[in-house]
Symmetry: C2
Subunit: 324 residues, 2 copies
């Protein structure tokens, strides 16, 4: 059967497991560092510095995405991005993805192929490849991605190293994805720039290794909301973090949307997840490139590690709970 | 709240994502080679020979297991085993597992903790650890495991190296798991030895590195059935493989069950998956330890690579299709 980028008719059940795997594999590019690619019991990936960074995240249809809001390729980009951002947040570069998918039998083959293309294209942004996977059937689409990464000799940047006196800086957009979700959930398809931010987040992957090289003491990607994710840093590091909203970047589309919907645009920035910006703590002497914006300070914890906003407790929502 | 091995009441939804992750992490042992364990954006695992073996497999409730047939701990053991057997089939030792799980909100917390214990206990059989994961909610349980492995300086054993003249040898049980499934599907709970083989397969993990050291030219784990999995070797290697049923080991429980149900017990051995035995091709001069049983020969392919049984085409079922 035709693969490559030719349109493929029929359902995944009609094609069968092995036909589907063959068709999907035809969409994948394997690059440098892949010593053995898809098609065997396991892949073999180079791990030049004798360590491998590894993380996994799961997307569930109607929980993390809706097929009416995002294309199959978008889902692939999103699934890859959220894992590759986790690798970046350790200060590493993603080298390989493995993808386990559950697909309903009546799903069009084309959907599965577009998913694979999206995963592969996002991986290429880091010079990474999809090296393995598994497909099986089920009622709802589930996509479990594992990303592997290379620290290139650097120490991993954990959540636990922030120290009083550090500055808190962010690289990447905050709140745009959540604003896009708010647009889609109201039945609109524009502003396009916000919808696109939701459909295909753009994590600043190379800022992860850069932050590590600049001496980041702690780093995390903003997947569940700035306050919630900085809360993890505060807890792990045993520190207090205060955010200064006066220096937060609130993009014009967020200001416009807030005005249109009667919502506080700063809330998108503080609590919106899924843009996968990187937020890191640095010693106060750090010299950051312009794309890193200092948004707060680390102080000694009074009791448990905590995050405040402009010196006060935040009484709004903090972010996303996957079982809420 | 109480973790460790204390019984935990309530549902996963009531506990919430972060409480659940904390409770699960409390069940996990992290061993040697884990440079950074669960709880950060990603884990860091040693990869001493500068390569990492990686594979992923997905289990879906009511497709790959039923909660009435297997305990949560069994599901953990099975999910770990099928991935660790894939790593072994490359000639490698599993070092780490990552686990993405989808759990219904009303699932008892205890089920999730027992799942984690099963995963961790099976991993320990290889000296491996569960180093990371993700939990989210959905209608049905889905468990996506990724296993990482260490080749310890050896070349990976693929499916593609079998050559005419090689012998085909198997290490581990064949057909027992499928026989156990046949027992359970008829509403019985015994013979216990077959049900137990289904509930907790016992792949001969160390036979993978051993086979590689003995010069295996191709190797695969029997996950979908001997004929189907050897078919992958025949196709990848461009060879013909013939199985000699006279030398196949057909265990007494299989003979007894076949007699009781009026089924051919050899069919369990040829087509039953999920025991995760290892089957490998070796040069004819190889000296194998007793646990490897020679069951067939490799010949030049007449046309496409194919597998025959006692010199003739097999006209029964070949194995498992995940979309059938």
């Amino acid at each position: 059967m035709a693969v490559g980028n030719v349109s493929v008719p029929g359902s995944v059940a009609a094609l069968g497991e092995f036909g589907l795997v063959t068709a999907i594999t035809g969409r994948l590019q394997t690059g440098e560092g892949v010593l053995l690619g898809p098609g065997d019991d396991a892949a073999v990936v180079a791990a030049a510095d004798a360590r491998v960074v590894a993380t996994t995240d799961v997307l569930v249809e109607d929980r993390h995405f809706r097929r009416t809001w995002v294309s199959a390729a978008d889902v692939g980009h999103r699934a890859a991005a959220q894992n590759m951002a986790d690798v970046a947040a350790m200060g590493a570069r993603t080298t390989a993805l493995l993808v386990g998918v559950v697909l309903p039998g009546d799903l069009p083959v084309q959907w599965a192929l577009d998913l694979a293309s999206g995963l592969s294209e996002e991986a290429e942004l880091c010079g990474a490849s999809v090296v393995g996977g598994d497909v099986t059937s089920g009622d709802k689409i589930v996509i479990a991605v594992t990303a592997l990464g290379d620290l290139c000799g650097r120490a991993p940047v954990t959540r636990a190293g922030a120290a009083p006196g550090d500055v808190v800086a962010v690289c990447g957009r905050l709140g745009w994805s959540e604003a896009g979700r708010a647009v889609l959930s109201r039945g609109f398809r524009s502003p396009r720039v916000l919808v696109a931010a939701y459909q295909r987040p753009q994590p600043p992957y190379d800022a992860g290794p850069e932050g590590a090289s600049l001496g980041a003491t702690a780093m995390i990607d903003v997947s569940d909301g700035l306050l919630q994710d900085l809360g993890h840093v505060a807890t792990a590091s045993g520190v207090h973090i205060d955010i200064d909203t006066a220096v937060l970047e609130v993009g014009q589309p967020l200001l416009d949307l807030g005005a249109a919907l009667g919502l506080n645009p700063v809330e998108f920035v503080l609590t919106g997840g899924e843009d996968h910006a990187l937020v890191a703590c640095f010693p106060p002497s750090v010299e950051l490139r312009e794309r890193w914006r200092v948004i707060g300070r680390v102080a000694a914890a009074a009791g448990e590690g905590a995050v405040t906003v402009d010196g006060a407790a935040w009484d709004g929502p903090r972010g996303w709970d996957h079982f809420a």
